[in-house]
């Protein structure tokens, strides 16, 4: 019933790490549907002919063709001719592959649970997608083509997150789309309370690890810790910038002196020779004139963690903070307001509704983890209700949807959970954007992922119907230009 295509499509070989790494983001404008004049002369092209192509959220073309070459979308349009010899895939709807911006799929379990990570810890170093081929295949078949992974999930500072493709044929390195997608931190998460014996409804007993909430003062100090980390990054950055300026000034000064001395070299030599001769005549020792040289500025000491933290202080990568309670969210917003380059992202945000206006005003996206838990749940913040996404969006907030970053197998079910948020007040278009361009934009990958436009990586789905209609089946999945899933009835 389901096959994960293992053969390679001629030419469209798994280029993995960056088929479009050099793609110019400014080319995006040329991707407007309907226009493209490209000459094709070989059989390395994949053509998707779809009843409707969802080019990007809010923009679709009826009866269009998507041409893919070398892992990259070459053209999209209704007037395009399918080149001779191209492999043709037909379907009702074609859209960008889904992105799970908060996943654990393909991450080594020990890296996920590592409590000793710091800002410079690279999640990319903890990838282990080899033992979970079946999970990768299931997630792909459900339409998820890439994920953001985060090591040190429960650690105070989780380190640098990574965005990877799920194609099981790619090595861990090839699968990397962005190895410095963000830096993650956590505030107020429950800590491990040890093993507890719990009786299940069917009468059997089970040992499960218990959650223990941290007290309110601890939680507030954790907000301060986040702020001090950003501050460390900023100071480091300032010291670096200052050093560069000083060094520049120093080098300039030296250069000027050199130039000066070169210009007057002959005159100075003559004067010196004369003085040496005079000294000899008088039987005295010649004393060289001493020049006081400006001290060379000292390079600030290299610090890997601070170097990483400077990325968030400078807004090079976003800072993702998993935080749930209203008080901590408000404090975090208030205390980080002065960092004008900081790009804050909230993960979880179970009680974010009470800070919805501030979040919207600051344009802080919230990655909501919609979950289905019974009344008996272990940690009250283990996943949010189905209404949260719609409620936040209703107050003008920017909302992404993620699978919670704890259990890799949930990524496969993210599209179904997203559909459930649609039935609980989240707009269909908003949910689609959250799973595609919204996630790509938040993690600086909008030039490569999240929409069906020329120049972007070919991560594409071909479905029976609307991507969020759970009765519509995913028929083909293209990941990095390679067809990785083909499902028939």
């Amino acid at each position: 019933m389901k096959t994960v295509v293992s053969g390679l499509i001629a030419g469209a070989v798994a280029l993995g790490a960056g088929p479009a790494a050099g793609a110019d983001p400014s080319q995006e404008a040329a991707a407007s549907p309907g226009e493209a004049e490209v000459a094709f002369d070989d059989a390395t092209v994949l053509a998707i002919r779809a009843g409707r192509v969802l080019v990007r959220p809010g923009v679709s073309v009826e009866g269009a063709v998507v041409l893919v070459r070398d892992g990259v979308i070459e053209a999209v349009g209704s007037e395009l001719e399918v080149p001779e010899g191209a492999r043709v895939i037909e379907g009702a709807v074609c859209c960008a592959g889904f992105i799970d911006p908060w996943s654990a799929l393909g991450l080594d379990a020990s890296v996920l649970g590592d409590q000793s990570t710091d800002a410079a810890t690279r999640t990319a170093d903890g990838l282990d997608p080899y033992g979970v081929d079946h999970l990768l295949a299931e997630a792909l078949a459900a339409g998820v083509t890439s994920v953001r992974l985060q090591g040190g999930q429960a650690a105070a500072v989780g380190g640098l997150g990574a965005v990877v493709r799920l194609d099981p044929q790619l090595s861990a390195t090839e699968a990397l789309v962005n190895d410095e997608a963000d830096i993650a931190m956590a505030v107020g998460l429950s800590v491990d309370g040890g093993m507890q014996l719990v009786q299940l409804p069917d009468g059997s007993y089970s040992m499960i690890s218990g959650a223990r909430a941290v007290d309110p003062f601890d939680r507030l100090s954790q907000v301060e810790r986040v702020v001090s980390k950003i501050e460390e990054g900023r100071s480091y950055l300032e010291a670096q910038v200052e050093y560069r300026h000083e060094l520049e000034a120093w080098e300039l000064g030296i250069a000027e002196k050199l130039k000066e001395s070169e210009k007057d070299f002959k005159k100075a030599k003559k004067a010196r020779d004369k003085k040496v001769a005079e000294a000899e005549e008088e039987g005295e020792e010649y004393k060289e004139k001493k020049y006081k040289e400006d001290k060379k500025p000292k390079k600030p000491k290299f610090d890997a963690e601070k170097e990483a933290l400077s990325l968030i202080a400078d807004g090079v990568v976003p800072l993702v903070v998993e935080v749930h309670r209203t008080a901590e969210i408000r404090n975090l917003l208030a205390m980080t307001a002065r960092f004008n380059r900081l790009r804050l992202v909230i993960a979880g945000g179970s009680e974010a509704l009470h800070a919805a206006e501030q979040l919207a005003e600051r344009k802080v996206p919230v990655i909501v983890w919609p979950s289905l838990r019974g009344t008996e749940r272990f940690d009250e913040f283990d996943g949010a209700g189905l209404e949260l996404a719609g409620e936040l969006a209703g107050r003008g907030g920017s909302v992404l949807l993620g699978s919670g970053g704890r259990d890799g197998s949930v990524t496969r079910d993210l599209p179904l959970l997203a559909a459930l948020t649609v039935s609980h007040g989240f707009g269909r278009e908003a949910a689609f954007e959250a799973l595609t361009l919204g996630a790509a934009t938040t993690f600086d990958l909008a030039h490569r992922l999240g929409s069906v436009e020329a120049g972007k990586d070919a991560d594409l789905l071909v479905l029976d119907g609307d991507p969020l209609d759970t009765t519509a089946r995913v028929r083909h999945v293209i990941c990095g230009g390679r067809e990785v899933v083909h499902q028939e009835d």
Partner: protein, 370 residues
């Protein structure tokens, strides 16, 4: 046998309460008109009309003229029977649990639940209008199930199914029986000289709900059950993928174990395979451990795996009610059955479809108008 029972139940339910042939009184009638009326048995009426009076469905069809004075509910979307969750502990909790003896056939789940428990309200929010409360199969025979409406916690049927625990969790380390063979021997004894509930089960009056888990448990249980010509449903679908043919041949129905997001892919593959083989299916929920939305979520996961959406809806409605022995009263949109209806904004098996309204016994309990 079950069909005969169904007919009797129909008479007892609809027939007793209302005269289905009496003329409709407009003022007491609510007429539902929907883009699609899903009957609960796989059939769909485009532009269907449903007449409800005194809590009972009186007419179902296309192009029926509403009686004068009837209240008409026009719905831009789908109408389905209320969903039936087949296995759970809603409002029961530990009240249902007694593991002191291996046999408690007289224990009645209807006597052991809190009708005000929030589980019922939560289920209703998710379109579930009836749940089957079950004593946990932690012993060989923990008792009988009860079918309860989530609105008002009204018991529709008590002693609905006789529960047998044929998974290893029914075996104790220090109490008879300690082995699977011992358990089957003990049950053999009960069914060889049957009394009470065991007699009713043998006579086909009381369907069984048999909790199993692994493949070998399925095979051994089916061997035992077919030897005694027993009927009913297996509870436990996870390992069914490789033993679909044996289950099909046994004529036993299967109640699917509930699914959480992230559950192993085998879970959905087994259900899709059972459905493809034509095994009658229903879904368990096991609230309060699970969110009531897990019921339809699980069905949607099976649909993603290839199960027909229509078959999935039948498993959540008509077939579920039939498995619980209340097919003559619940689970379908049909003349004489209880008017437990759900209005959806779109396809009922599309998780993006909203629940617009829920009606139980013809009365609106969620959303909608009147």
């Amino acid at each position: 046998m079950l069909e005969t029972l169904t007919v009797i139940a129909t008479l007892a339910a609809g027939g007793d309460r209302v005269d289905l042939d009496a003329p409709l009184v407009g003022e007491r009638t609510t007429v539902f008109r929907a883009d699609e009326v899903h009957l609960g048995d796989g059939r769909v009426l485009d532009g269907g009309v449903v007449f409800v009076q005194d809590g009972v469905i009186r007419e179902v069809g296309v192009g029926l003229e509403p009686p004068t004075g009837a209240h008409v509910v026009e719905h831009d979307g789908a109408l389905t029977p209320g969903l039936v969750a087949l296995h759970g502990f809603e409002g029961g909790g530990e009240e249902l649990l007694d593991s002191t003896r291996p046999f408690l056939p007289g224990a009645d789940a209807a006597t052991a639940f809190n009708p005000d428990h929030p589980d019922f309200t939560r289920s209703l929010d998710c379109g579930i209008t009836a749940v089957v409360l079950s004593p946990p199969a932690s012993i060989l025979c923990p008792g009988t199930t009860a079918v309860v409406k989530t609105a008002g916690a009204v018991v529709v049927s008590r002693r609905a199914q006789l529960v047998l625990g044929l998974s290893t969790s029914a075996l104790k380390a220090d109490e008879f029986p300690t082995s699977y063979a011992g358990a089957l021997a003990a049950l053999d004894e009960r069914f060889s000289e049957p009394k009470g509930a065991f007699r009713s089960a043998l006579d086909g009056e009381l369907p069984l709900l048999v909790k199993i888990s692994t493949r070998s448990q399925i095979q051994r249980a089916l061997g035992f059950l077919t030897r005694h010509r027993l009927r009913g449903a297996l509870y436990g679908s996870y390992w069914a993928e490789e033993v679909v043919d044996e289950i099909k041949a046994s004529a036993f129905s299967v109640i699917c174990t509930p699914s959480d997001p992230g559950d192993d892919g085998r879970w959905a593959r087994s259900i899709a395979a059972l459905s493809a083989a034509g095994v009658r299916l229903g879904f368990g929920l096991d609230a309060p451990g699970r969110h009531p939305h897990c019921l339809r979520f699980g069905a949607a996961v099976a649909v993603r795996e290839g199960m027909d959406p229509g078959a999935a809806l039948t498993a959540l409605t008509g077939d579920a009610a039939a498995i619980a022995g209340v097919g003559g009263r619940l689970g379908r949109v049909e003349r004489g059955l209880d008017a437990d209806l759900v209005l959806w904004s779109g396809e009922p098996m599309d998780l993006a479809s909203e629940i617009s309204a829920v009606y139980v016994d013809g009365k609106r309990v969620r959303g909608g108008e009147r």
